[in-house]
Subunit: 324 residues, 2 copies
């Protein structure tokens, strides 16, 4: 009796998603790109298919900036750091940087090099607990607005990518973020916005220390970057944290090139996806010459390596979620 | 109609585990310890209970050596490193260490300090790909035997802990390993033996490099320890990888003390569990004076801090799984 009930339970667990979601990717235009995405997911999840993957191998990794949300005119985490640095005591910054900050000269700030940026980040990202940092980021995300669209930053996520994340999870994939941005920063909004829990966020790491304050042990953020999760480091952090090669990697810049190569060179079915910012009217158009999200080598190799190039202008019916 | 079916599905999903498993912890003796474990799990998973935790907060972290499997007369990963080093060209080891290795003098090997142990580990844990390393560990685990029990090492896991892991997972907990042992090593057997997938294994990390071999990109293990996941580093790796404070922490030595303190100081329901090796007849008896798995400070503080002390002799009906 249990067996027959169990069978019925399993039957409905399999069938329900199919009934509820007719088109799992409604914001994707019909065409080759959408077809290739669905074929890969159906091929790897249909029992008996030659590309079938057991659940333990259904891992998808997504870059964040420029892949899941926008990154122009500069990284949103940098917008946070700039706003906080302006209000903080920034008298110990190098003079050029302090002046650039005061007159809102972002180009000069971006050109201040690793040392300058590290000093700038330290004003907001160091010498407070992870919990306090995340509370402050949450407050900022609730009030800050993008300088051009005037949307909240969390409303500048890509609707088609939200659908792809859900579609993959509905098919038994674990969806990880693997970002050059800070893990502590992304974790503040990854779960409510992307449906990605904190433990599926991999990112850059600041120095961290366990300190005792009045008998209570607290994880404190310290100045300095302990791990910059970009380029060659992305496959390494995936190996270290996830412990296996993903089936799917999604990125938008040359910083994702090693992750895309390493993922798609694995045996069996693998999928590389490159988001190409081609839509000046609805978002931004940039690639080979951009200071942020430079896409050059990976763009050249997408074709030869069989990756899907997502042309935002052509493939997406909608870029951002409708605003309430 | 879908709604009524869905309701039935959910009803059975909730009820079935209760029907199938009358006693979730059959290898635990009845008594205070077993009662406290079950009360905590029921309190945190029963809707309406004042200790109720949503699933996103049900994280349990387990030390491995001495907590999930045995660690005497020395760590099993060290047994692997010693066997491989004996067979490898060890002419570049410091002379005292090389000679101790040849005559099987483990005490001298253990006393050779960080430099000696690093050189020893490099003979088996470096200059090969993660995939090749894991294949070799798998082969070793299939044939090696514990020097005293003559069991395979993977049969020296604790049956009561296997039941606790399953019981927690059946109640919506994610079960993580947070070990001083190497993550790459533990991942070889964590899924088949503990039911813990690779991405829920946190451990010590060797240096790692992404290299290209004949056009193929491979993650290569390199000499040196990049992260020693013990003591104060355990809370830091949990913060970095999981991104939140666990609800449950389980350990057996002073190396787990910071993890236990930090976990149980969190707001809301938290549980600390300390495995105390008291059973010389069935396993090993050691604590304050042991070179491996020293338990001193954490033992003193277990009572005042309200942690459960698991007395292996008193609380476990069975230590190791029955052998076929
Ligand atoms: Ca990017
Ligand atoms: Ca231990």
């Amino acid at each position: 009796m249990i067996t027959s009930t169990l069978r019925r339970v399993l039957f409905w667990m399999v069938l329900l998603p199919g009934i509820v979601c007719a088109d799992p990717l409604p914001s994707w235009q019909p065409g080759d790109t959408k077809r290739a995405l669905i074929e890969f997911v159906e091929g790897t999840t249909t029992v008996g298919s030659e590309d079938y993957l057991p659940r333990s191998q259904r891992i998808a990794v997504f870059d964040n900036d420029g892949t899941l949300w926008a990154e122009q005119p500069y990284y949103f985490q940098l917008a946070y750091a700039l706003e906080r640095a302006e209000k903080a005591d920034h008298s110990e910054l190098p003079e050029t940087l302090a002046k650039a900050l005061e007159r809102g000269d972002i180009a000069t700030v971006l050109d201040s090099g690793v040392e300058g940026l590290t000093a700038l980040l330290a004003l907001s990202h160091a010498n407070l607990s992870v919990a306090d940092f995340q509370a402050d980021v949450g407050q900022w995300l609730g009030t800050a607005r993008h300088p051009q669209t005037e949307r909240p930053y969390t409303a500048m996520v890509y609707q088609p990518m939200l659908e792809l994340l859900s579609y993959l999870r509905d098919n038994g994939y674990l969806t990880y973020i693997v970002s050059g941005g800070g893990a502590d920063f992304i974790r503040v909004f990854a779960e409510p916005v992307y449906g990605v829990p904190p433990w599926q966020v991999i990112g850059s790491l600041g120095e961290l220390e366990l300190v005792e304050e009045a008998g209570r042990w607290v994880t404190m953020k310290r100045p300095g970057v302990a791990w910059l999760d970009d380029g060659m480091n992305k496959p390494l952090s995936i190996e270290r944290v996830i412990g296996q090669r993903p089936a799917i990697a999604v990125g938008n810049s040359d910083g994702d090139y090693p992750m895309l190569v390493w993922t798609t060179q694995g045996a069996g079915p693998r999928l590389g996806i490159l988001v190409h910012h081609t839509d000046k009217a609805r978002e931004f158009a940039y690639d080979r010459e951009s200071h942020i999200g430079k896409l050059d080598k990976a763009l050249d190799e997408a074709g030869p390596r069989g990756w899907i190039r997502v042309d935002m202008a052509r493939d997406w019916r909608l870029v951002f979620p409708p605003q309430p």
